[in-house]
């Protein structure tokens, strides 16, 4: 069994034994989903809002909640604890591939991302949201959310390795909020003001959100889905490469 998977299993046990760290990743996105729908559903009734494709505003907001749930990066905070506690050095002093040390936590984050995405989507289904792209779309929705979790945790791990500080790592996680609000979060991109539209077009998170949204609201539209996967693939390669470089030069 590969070292990365062994370390991934450990990280999963760690997550399961710290439910107090896991529960907010489910609760807070659902809270924002309820609040956003409560505030804007009256403005965008499904009967007269074309971009909802006949669904309620909750279906439009679901991707935001999925992205938020996948952007907690708790694993990076566990990594800081591990650095401070000395276990990280224990691993570095063993003949463990540096890539496996980085990848172990990211594998666990992907598994957690799948579980959280499934939970949120199932709750959405209970409250009347449908996944217009069917079972294949559901799987792509969950997969893309999990991959985004890997990318964002990879970014936070980078901060953890660089700063070795829980405070700095935690603060870095807040970068997600400006990124989220510079997306077509409340309305489609073509309804944004011109400056916001430009900002959203330059923001890579926009393409992930549009891919997720397309899977909820439309049949499989590869022209929108593929850019989302391309963004997580490119960002994923970059953050993993930077993580490996960082751990190789860690002193």
């Amino acid at each position: 069994m590969s070292q990365a998977w062994l370390l991934g299993q450990r990280a999963l046990r760690e997550g399961a034994r710290t439910p107090e760290a896991l529960l907010p990743t489910l609760f807070i996105p659902l809270f924002f989903l309820a609040v956003n729908v409560g505030q804007a559903a009256e403005i965008f009734p499904s009967s007269s809002t074309d971009f909802l494709n006949g669904q309620g505003y909750g279906a439009f907001q679901l991707p935001s909640s999925l992205l938020l749930a996948a952007s907690f990066g708790t694993a990076a905070l566990f990594l800081v604890e591990e650095i401070e506690g000395g276990y990280f050095d224990k691993l570095r002093a063993a003949p463990v591939s540096r890539t496996a040390i980085v990848a172990g936590r990211l594998i666990a984050e992907a598994v957690k991302g799948v579980l959280i995405a499934v939970a949120i989507v199932v709750l959405g289904l209970i409250f009347g949201i449908t996944i217009a792209s069917g079972v294949a779309g559901f799987l792509l929705l969950v997969g893309l959310t999990a991959l985004w979790a890997v990318v964002f945790t990879g970014f936070m791990q980078l901060i953890a390795l660089k700063t070795r500080s829980a405070a700095a790592t935690n603060s870095a996680g807040l970068v997600f909020f400006p990124l989220l609000f510079l997306t077509p979060n409340f309305v489609p991109r073509d309804l944004l003001t011109r400056p916001m539209e430009i900002a959203a077009t330059l923001n890579p998170v926009t393409y992930v959100m549009e891919a997720l949204r397309s899977l909820v609201l439309e049949d499989l539209d590869w022209g929108t889905i593929l850019p989302g996967f391309a963004v997580v693939a490119v960002l994923g390669v970059i953050v993993i490469a930077l993580n490996v470089r960082m751990i190789n030069t860690y002193d």
Binding site: L6, G85, K90, R92, P95, D251
Partner: protein
Amino acid sequence: MNEIAPAVEAAALVKHYPGSKNGDIEAVRGVDLRVESGEVFGFLGPNGAGKSTTVKMLTTLLTITSGSARVAGVDVADDPDEVRRRIGVALQEAGLDPRQTGRELLVLQARLFGLSAPDAATRTDELLQLVELEDAADRHIKGYSGGMKRRLDLASALVHEPDVLFLDEPTTGLDPVSRLTVWDEVRRINARGTTVFLTTQYLEEADQLCDRLAIIDDGRIVRQGPPAELKAGLRERLDLDHEPTLDDVFLDATGRSRSRVAGDVQEVAA
């Protein structure tokens, strides 16, 4: 007949950390060491003398600024992975994962060193017995006492039966009973043929355990030899009419006096 390679050999080992505007910090300034295979070697020094930095270079955790080091016959800079396969490391802070059980931690460590699942389970049972933690094996580590954590850390450093075991202040913060238990473990491990490289601030510990020792101060080795020889040398040099202790050797080597040390302690306590 082939000569047995020294367990640890360092030549002109230097470590600089990037510092502030005043320039680099010279933590280790040219350390020469030779530890023979099968020894318990003590590495002593005041706080900040360079003990932990030296150990971290020898265990591949820090890069070497200049000089060279070989551990178990392998060059640390050229083949760090091979060095890692041959050493066990228990650092100053017991490096454990508090959310795992003792058994899970040892099994994982064994698997990371390449043991199969059944072999890892068997080795874990042996080690739990060795460090007398069988009863606590399936409890989460965060509930362990300081002494139990040290013993588990020691066990985790032994999963692959290393040639050289590095122990960085293994008894700091332990109560006297736990300290004696760790001493017994060290003796047992050494009796099985493992070279032990031990850093400590406790001179009695060094006197009790070590075949030879080195004292480092301000990044340089200032004394090296068997404890008895170092004490005899001091007695002869100062023409003392009593047998000096290792404390006297340490104070003489580091240029400290008992009053200065006592004063430092008083100042910190206030």
